[in-house]
Amino acid sequence: MVIDNPIYFKKPDDNFAIQTFDITRIFGKLVAVNGINLNIKKGELFALLGPNGAGKTTIISMLCCLLKPSSGTALVMGHDINKDPYRVKATLGISPQETTLSDHLNPLENLELIGSLHNMKPKVLRERAKKLLETMGLAERAKDQVRKFSGGMKRRLNIAMALINDPPIIILDEPTLGLDPQSRRVVWKYIARLKKDKTILLTTHYLEEADFLADRIGIIDEGKLVALGTSRDLKNDMIDTHTIVIKAWNLTQKTIMEMKAKYEDVQISDGTMTITDRLADFRKIVDYLHAAGTIIRSAYIREPTLDDVFIKITGKELRE
């Protein structure tokens, strides 16, 4: 069965840090990951975007050799996940989706445990651990047991633990989940700084996170890769669709009904009318409203966002 699988004729390529070949995982009847082919370049920051249950975490679990693919395989820094799991693991640093720490150890001990399991020298390890705690704003709490930490502090340590072994590939499963905007920004900045010499694979629900950080974005839905490209590429797909946002004092029910009859998607909230339509012409709409006696406060054309892309491709919102 494995022999005549065409994936085995695909070539490994040195330029890629991660290559997946029709990687698939089935849980009972559920196809959680369905034949995904991905090539992530060395030094690239790749974001996997997808709604709950899309299969993001399952892909990551297969890449770090915790789950066996039902079929297909992947190469991580040239090592096959099915044949060489220990080599694969040695090239990875992982921050899992769920925060998991050793509760009765302090953050320094947590970091040093992971580091020494990666065979780091104690001296180097200690120094690096201290530096990371500094970066993540945890230095003052270095001697407290982590069970006494707040959720956000644990989350930051969770990320630091992916970085302690200074691996060539860093995998972050929803790294900023549960962080306040300020901490999120700190983490983003740090990830952006790492970007130059590391390959980073991250999953996220935050579109702005993917937009801000990622070189390329893959959108997955129901286990399938449905779109792939830079943020710009993906938005360009939407270029023929315009979103026009108009704020007005006195929108009448009659005007609204007329607009809804004319255009595909018209949303009203708090005196703001958002019109998304392929044929929407900004000037025509403004003129029409003006003639109808509407007093316009502001009117503009909005660039398409990843949100729009996402809804267009998958037909659903990212977050419920």
């Binding site: 915790l66 080599r87 040695a90 050793s102 509760d103 150890l105 020494s116 072994n165």
Partner: protein
């Protein structure tokens, strides 16, 4: 190095978790105190035992007067015939009686000379009082063995019953209780591994290039430390309650430690098979309670039907109990218990190999 990091982490995680540590250490303490209070100390019960001497030789008289009568927990009365003894047993005046058959003296003399042969005693006991009868039988068994020199060669000229006269009830009960205490390490041994499974911390450390045996050794060795502390507590408390270790304390310690290592190994197997702490704990209680019953920690396994004895002997605890009793109450050395000790070592090795195989399987599902 990796093993060491895991070991120190597990020790810290266990010792800083006050509740968990209290459970691990206070439970055996409480348990031993209860049993010590029940069986040990000055108010140890005494058993009324009858003797009918059909041999009437110097040796048999010596056995009655110097060996049996010197055992503090036995109150020996002699009767002229079995009918009288049976009547006394019926009336509840005695809880069992021993019949020394004709030729007993000759058999024993032969044993003293050639170290070969066999002796037989008839013991009639009250079946409705199993626990007491078992105590008496094991005491008499031990006294007789010592007297006949089956394990410790003794000559009649030196005081042969010297050693055994110190036997207290606690000497017989304690090894069984200690082994039971170590047997019930099965449910606790896998606690940390299951906790790490439930919190997914195990998954996290599995993303490092650590091998299955390193994980297993890390978990097991931290439990071995706990086991050593437990055994020290057990021996100290046993000693406080009047348990004398006649043989080598190190040999007794080694036997206890081997039993503990087997428990930890079984705990690792169960933890590798289970998905949650609850599941693991239920599974191991289900397994360890019946095992405790058939392993002779409460009463001698000679009371069990043969198929249950065979079953019990497949597991380490029956061997550990008999070896520990032999060392503690009869003072035998390694040569007498080597079979049991090697069995325990073999068992420990096999259970850890099985554990590693199972753990490896769960490492990647």
């Amino acid at each position: 190095m990796r093993f060491w990091s895991l070991f120190t982490r597990n020790i810290k995680e266990t010792c800083r978790d006050v509740m968990a540590l209290a459970f691990l250490l206070a439970f055996p303490l409480l348990f031993m105190l209860l049993f010590g209070a029940a069986f040990g100390g000055s108010n140890s019960p005494s058993y009324a035992v009858g003797v009918v001497d059909n041999d009437q030789t110097e040796v048999s008289q010596g056995f009655i007067n110097n060996a049996l009568s010197e055992v503090s927990v036995l109150q020996v009365s002699t009767y002229n015939d079995t009918d009288t003894a049976l009547e006394k047993l019926r009336l509840g005046n005695i809880s069992s009686y021993i019949v020394i058959p004709q030729g007993f003296g000759e058999q024993v003399s032969q044993l003293w000379q050639s170290k070969q042969g066999n002796i037989s005693l008839d013991i009639t006991y009250d079946e409705s009082n199993l626990a007491v009868s078992e105590q008496i039988i094991s005491i008499i068994n031990s006294v007789t063995r010592s007297f006949a020199g089956i394990e410790i060669p003794i000559t009649i000229n030196t005081n042969p019953i010297n050693i055994e006269s110190r036997i207290t009830n606690m000497d017989f009960t304690a090894p069984g209780i200690i082994i039971f205490g170590l047997l019930i390490m099965i449910p606790t041994a896998g606690r940390l591994m299951l906790h790490d499974k439930e919190t997914h911390f195990l998954h996290r450390i599995m993303t490092t290039p650590t091998h299955p045996w390193e994980f297993l050794a890390g978990y097991a060795s931290s439990m071995v430390i706990i086991a050593i502390i437990q055994i020290i507590i057990f021996i100290l408390l046993g000693w406080m309650f009047g348990m004398d270790i006649i043989g080598s304390i190190w040999l007794a310690f080694a036997i206890f430690l081997l039993a503990a290592v087997c428990s930890i190994g079984i705990g690792m197997v169960v933890a590798s098979l289970s998905k949650s702490e609850n599941q693991g704990e239920s599974l191991s209680w289900l397994f360890s309670m019946p095992l405790a019953i058939v392993s002779g920690v409460w009463f001698s396994i000679e009371f069990l039907p043969p198929y249950l004895q065979t079953f019990a002997n497949l597991f380490p605890y029956a061997h550990a109990v008999s070896a520990a009793r032999a060392v503690i109450t009869r003072g035998v050395g390694m040569e007498a218990v080597s079979g049991d000790v090697y069995f325990l070592i073999g068992w420990a090795v096999v259970v850890f190999i099985v554990g590693t195989i199972l753990f490896r399987r769960t490492m990647r599902s």
